[in-house]
């Protein structure tokens, strides 16, 4: 089986400062890879560099669409933007960065549907209701504007907006950061359910080991812009080899 996403030797610098370097990643269909590290570890730079938000300085990113292998850094900007609109999705830490605030909840979800050519209002509405259900937002909020939503609801809406067209690869940057602990737990449950139900391929970044442990199959541990350890999530977290990973694991609050 071919990996749906493979990243080779990716480097991104900010002037002289290292963003991330020598980064590698392989993502198979239906798999969740978690990237964990403290703030400043380069994990956000990394996920932005592989999702098209930033242009890395060097490296290779290959995406398998089923028909062909796309060299993501070499294709034209128009093809890149098309992929970002259709096959890739990005869930931002702050849902306001991933939503149109001057557009209703339903309008936000409708956008990706219409960008792939759907033109039947009735059908679009049905799909919207289905997804509001899936992300546990009350149907009556469909025409409300995001500014009337709580943080947790905004995040659910962002997730619905991204997943509605079943994108091939989903990138998530701290999807539960900034939310109350109880709300976090609910969102994590939702994500876990959706990943399993829809067989999603996900790269998720977080500073929170608990989040990664709950969702990820494989894990990459980053420090100072580089990967210090990687492997199967349970294996790495149960038996950390690198001193930094050991430090991370030991400092997680035991629930």
């Amino acid at each position: 089986m071919q990996p749906i996403l493979s990243v080779h030797n990716l480097n991104k610098y900010y002037g002289n400062q290292v963003g991330c370097k020598n980064m590698n990643l392989t993502l198979y269909p239906g798999e969740v890879v978690g990237v964990v590290g403290e703030s400043g570890s380069g994990k956000t730079t990394f996920i932005n560099s592989i999702s098209g938000n930033l242009i890395p300085d060097s490296g290779k990113i290959l995406i398998e669409t089923g028909n062909e292998t796309i060299d993501f850094l070499e294709i034209s900007e128009s093809l890149k933007r098309l992929l970002i609109r259709t096959e890739l999705a990005f869930v931002h830490q702050n849902p306001r960065d991933g939503l149109r605030l001057d557009v209703s909840a339903g309008g936000n979800i409708s956008e990706r549907l219409m960008s792939i050519g759907q033109r039947n209002y009735g059908n679009i509405r049905q799909t919207i209701f289905k997804w509001l259900d899936k992300v546990e937002i009350d149907k009556s909020r469909v025409d409300d504007f995001p500014r009337t939503f709580s943080g947790g609801m905004l995040q659910r809406l962002q997730i619905a907006k991204n997943l509605v067209t079943s994108p091939k690869i989903i990138f998530m940057d701290e999807p539960t950061g900034g939310l109350d602990v109880s709300v976090q737990a609910k969102i994590l449950d939702l994500l876990r359910k959706l990943v399993r139900e829809l067989n999603l391929s996900v790269v998720i970044v977080s500073h929170d080991l608990a989040v990664i442990r709950l969702l990820a199959d494989k894990i990459i541990v980053m420090k100072n812009g580089e990967a210090v350890e990687s492997g199967l999530c349970d294996q790495v977290l149960d038996d950390p080899q690198h001193s930094y990973t050991q430090l991370l694991v030991s400092s997680v609050l035991q629930v």
């Binding site: 128009s78 933007r81 098309l82 609109r85 149109r100 557009v103 209703s104 339903g106 309008g107 409708s110 956008e111 990706r112 219409m114 960008s115 033109r119 039947n120 209002y121 009735g122 679009i124 025409d143």
Partner: protein
């Protein structure tokens, strides 16, 4: 009429009222530049071609784009009709027609069928156009996405990549709020199944006339410096949803002068009690009907 540009020598000697202009005012180089833009525009229906708009003797916003396009197309054999809001007699139409009379000395007409070039603001004539006629539209804001995304650098990319998502979102929102698409004029269209275009502030009632029209349709936006075009027999469809199809409706009245049920009507308030009359906006169409009856 000679086309030679007369060189104005001493500026203080220019007290005389009778200046000598090049045919149709614009110099030949400018016309050439505009014609090139027009040809490019005709090859890519609905695509906005940037051009270097000249300062004209009428203000930006008052038809300078249309005037520059018309000026670049005019030959001595042309017969020109100018309308505003459908009427030949409205002040700005009169002013522009006089401008061409003065600077090109060509024949003018009020009859749609007799004109070779028609410059219009906000309406398409009711009478069907024929091959070889040119319809020049005055355009205030050429960018159909402008009210959703004011940045030209962004909309340029959106057109290039066919990223029309926000346009459709707006239509979705309209239906959700009102059960209708909220746009009554300057209703966005898709040309040749590719570019989304602003047809200029014509009432949506006029949109179907653009589709498969035998005439050449040219659009000039002077202040925004864009030209676009629709060549003859091009598909032009108004944006809609399958289950909320485009509705080119108008007020359900007849013209109280000629009785037409099919033309777009102006509403006139006739007295202090607010009583109303509806009459054809296209004055030539109305007059022809009266003559034929």
């Amino acid at each position: 009429m000679n086309n030679v540009l007369k060189f104005k020598n001493k500026k203080t000697d220019v007290a005389a009222q009778d200046e000598i202009y090049n045919f149709a005012y614009l110099d030949e180089n400018t016309k050439r530049m505009i014609r090139r833009a027009l040809i490019k525009a005709l090859c890519i229906p609905g695509y906005q071609v940037p051009f270097s708009s000249r300062e004209m003797p009428m203000p930006y916003g008052w038809g300078t784009g249309g005037v520059q396009v018309t000026s670049s197309c005019l030959t001595t054999d042309d017969v020109i009709k100018v309308i505003d809001q459908g009427a030949d007699d409205t002040t700005n139409a009169v002013s522009i027609r006089n401008f061409f009379k003065k600077t090109a000395n060509i024949e003018t007409t009020e009859k749609t069928s007799q004109a070779s070039i028609i410059q219009t603001r906000h309406r398409i004539p009711e009478e069907k156009l024929k091959e070889k006629q040119i319809l020049v539209y005055q355009v205030p804001i050429p960018e159909p996405l402008a009210f959703l995304e004011p940045r030209y650098q962004e909309t340029k990319k959106m057109h290039a990549l066919s990223e029309y998502g926000i346009m459709h979102v707006k239509l979705y929102e309209d239906i959700t709020k009102n059960g209708h698409i909220e746009t009554a004029y300057a209703y966005p269209v898709k040309t040749n199944d590719r570019y989304i275009m602003d047809p200029s502030p014509i009432p949506k009632f006029d949109n179907p006339k653009m589709n498969n029209n035998p005439a050449i349709q040219l659009f000039g936006a002077g202040r925004e410096q864009r030209i676009y075009a629709i060549p003859p027999y091009t598909e032009v469809t108004s944006l809609d949803f399958e289950d909320y199809p485009f509705d080119p409706s108008k007020a359900p009245h007849k013209c109280s002068i000629c009785g037409s049920n099919e033309s777009f009507l102006d509403e006139i308030i006739t007295d202090d009690d607010g009583n109303r009359s509806f009459i054809c906006s296209d004055t030539n169409y109305c007059n022809q009907r009266m003559e034929n009856n």
